[in-house]
């Protein structure tokens, strides 16, 4: 027996006028999709073909305001009733992403808390942060790298804190990328401190944006894990191990040595 979805023809897709994508997400989708389509066609390789197909699909969903993927997943980002009181309610973004990760660090909660509490330290291990400037006792100004060489910035405030145990923060209203975070420092009997982070943010282009980000290697959960791991290395060993900038036979100056 054929399922209902399988019976949908291309004509149906193109003529389906039922909108299940928010307005701003439609714009991002159409523009981003078009760019991806062009980039993919320019590449001309297998990845390029895949990207251009994805881009074409995005542009289509932007133009029609209807997303087949959302259909299949039962998501409707245009439906205000499902999430009426979002703290990050903002007309041009949709799709909230939660990431939670934990790492155990061979240091005391106090040492870790003190380092994190000075938010200006965060760019030392959070690879997407360009800078954080502390602007007041509870407030700070954040600058982050975004895909395609752009930057985003926002102001954040500390919403809760318990010394050596927990810090919570949240971007102030009207931010480009509304986001919030909580970090907890839980001591163990003999293994150091369990550090647990919960980040919530709203991604442009909704959940599909997160899927695209994944294609470019910027999948949020991997990114947060990488950041936490670097935090651990920095706190335990005093530095973050690297091979960036080391020599190899791939350097442009490399050439065969005469025997």
């Amino acid at each position: 027996m054929k399922s209902k979805n399988q019976e949908k023809s291309l004509a149906n897709i193109l003529t389906n006028t039922q909108t299940n994508i928010g307005t701003s997400e439609r714009v991002v989708s159409a523009v981003g999709g078009g760019a991806l389509l062009t980039y993919g066609l320019k590449r001309g390789d297998t990845l390029g073909v895949m990207l251009s197909i994805l881009g074409g699909g995005l542009a289509l969903r932007g133009a029609t305001g209807h997303c087949q993927v959302y259909d299949a997943l039962g998501i409707d980002s245009n439906d205000k009733s499902t999430n009426p009181k979002s703290p990050f309610d903002n007309s041009w973004v949709s799709g909230k992403i939660h990431v939670t990760k934990a790492v155990t660090i061979n240091k005391s909660p106090a040492e870790l808390y003190q380092f994190w509490r000075n938010f200006e330290n965060l760019p030392k291990f959070m690879s997407h942060l360009e800078s954080v400037t502390v602007t007041g006792e509870k407030t700070s100004f954040w600058k982050a790298k975004a895909p395609l060489g752009t930057t985003v910035e926002w102001n954040a405030e500390i919403t809760s804190e318990q010394e050596n145990q927990r810090i919570g923060w949240k971007s102030v209203e009207g931010s480009d990328i509304p986001n919030s975070g909580v970090v907890e420092f839980n001591p163990t009997s003999t293994r150091g401190t369990e550090v647990r982070v919960l980040l919530t943010y709203e991604s442009p282009a909704g959940e599909l944006g997160a899927i695209i980000a994944k294609l470019f290697g910027e999948e949020p959960s991997q990114q947060v894990y990488g950041d936490l791991y670097r935090f651990k290395s920095l706190m335990e060993s005093g530095e973050i191990i690297t091979v960036e900038g080391q020599t190899s036979g791939r350097e442009p100056q490399a050439k065969k040595a005469s025997a």
Binding site: E236, T247, S248, A254
Partner: protein, 390 residues
């Protein structure tokens, strides 16, 4: 500087590359005076280890002179003579503090690969693929050594390089393999692989009190070499002798108390399982060829220990779990926890208990490395251990 670079399967070349530089404050730069080709380098040479990139600098057995240190390295100074361990370790994490240096948490800058393949990532290793961190190796004129305040061990200027060079890997590796056997009075230890690690495991097993050591291989010259260097060693050439029967015969029917697999993932053999492994590896149905390991599990006595210093990277078929379970075996394995063993083995050398240079068969200039790799790979009887001189 000149460096030995991996350019593809069975293709190494000596290239002129930029000199290494300090990248972190716990780094040091070493001017290399002696380096060596390891049996495990042949796994890279033969294309068994994934994530090698064209241009990677090879080599994880090296020593030399400190020429530069980062600001956080206070225990070394210019001119110090040091031997560098092949495992890179921070010294601060849970694992380092429990002397499990080869599974250090903070020394692999690319942990994702091993986390995907193995669940968690081990330490970074010099010159041993990007799965192990992608660090440039020491078959070169200079090398950058991360966490130089924890890794390199200072050696007196008065000791010849060749006596201490193998503290960088194969001596501690052979020693840990024997220590993992928890040798008791009266024990017989059987060792598969009469290469350099097998030779050091033999010496170490005797140092740790083994009554009898049986070395198994099919390179007769390597077996004869062990006989010439150890008074009580027995040898089995598996080309003309059935190993299990012979081991039972040598132990009055009991079987060896512990077995060491010093061969690793490119095990040779002529039995059906070994031939099938070879076919499967060739068509990518399996990655490792564990014939020696299976035989070790089969031959070891009940309640015995199987110790594995030979390197494995992927998956094996037909693991004899029934034999392992029903005989109640203990398995010990892993990359060597180098920093744990180097000081005491340096003392053993200084006290004259052992001169590791016995294992060297050839000395070549660094520029002759491509020929050295080829000979080491194809003429195993004669080419036992190659030292390179930059």
């Amino acid at each position: 500087m000149k460096a030995v670079c991996w350019m593809g399967k069975e293709d190494v070349q000596v290239l002129n590359v930029p000199d290494p530089k300090i990248l972190n404050e716990r780094d040091a730069i070493i001017k290399i005076t002696r380096t060596a080709i390891c049996g495990s380098d042949l796994h890279l040479y033969n294309g068994y280890i994934p994530t090698m990139m064209e241009g990677d600098i090879l080599g994880h057995e090296f020593m030399g002179e400190v020429v530069e240190t980062g600001s956080e390295v206070s225990n070394l100074k210019q001119g110090d003579k040091v031997v560098v361990p092949f495992t890179i370790a921070c010294g601060n994490c849970f694992f380092c503090q429990h002397e499990m240096y080869s599974v250090c948490d903070n020394s692999n800058p690319k942990p994702e690969g091993q986390e995907t393949a193995y669940g968690f990532a081990g330490s970074g290793l010099f010159g041993f693929s990007h799965l192990m961190g992608g660090f440039a190796g020491g078959q070169a004129e200079y090398a950058r050594v991360p966490f130089a305040d924890v890794g390199p061990i200072k050696v007196p200027d008065s000791i010849e390089d060749e006596k201490v060079l193998f503290l960088s890997d194969i001596f501690p590796t052979g020693f840990m393999a024997a220590e993992n056997c928890n040798i008791q009075e009266g024990d017989t230890v059987a060792i598969w692989g009469a290469g350099p690690v097998g030779q050091f495991a033999t010496k170490s097993a005797f140092m740790l009190g083994a009554e009898k050591v049986v070395l198994i291989d099919h390179y007769q010259d390597r077996l004869d070499f062990a006989k010439a260097n150890n008074e009580n060693v027995e040898t089995i050439n598996f080309d003309d002798t059935e190993v299990h029967d012979k081991l039972k015969d040598l132990t009055g029917g009991r079987g060896p108390d512990s077995c060491i697999d010093a061969v690793g993932l490119e095990s040779h053999g002529t039995t059906p399982d070994a031939i099938l492994d070879r076919v499967k590896a060739a068509v990518f149905l399996a990655t490792d060829r564990p014939h020696a390991l299976r035989q070790a599990i089969f031959c070891v006595r009940k309640g015995g220990t199987v110790s594995i210093p030979g390197a494995y990277g992927g998956f094996m078929d037909k693991f004899p779990i029934g034999a392992a379970f029903n005989k109640g075996l203990t398995f010990k394995m892993g990359q060597t926890h180098m920093q744990k063993y180097m000081p005491k083995l340096l003392s053993a050398i200084e006290e004259g208990k052992i001169d590791p240079s016995f294992v060297i068969s050839h000395r070549l200039n660094l520029s002759e490395a491509p020929m050295g790799y080829d000979k080491f790979n194809t003429e195993k009887n004669d080419w036992r251990k190659i030292v390179l001189m930059p």
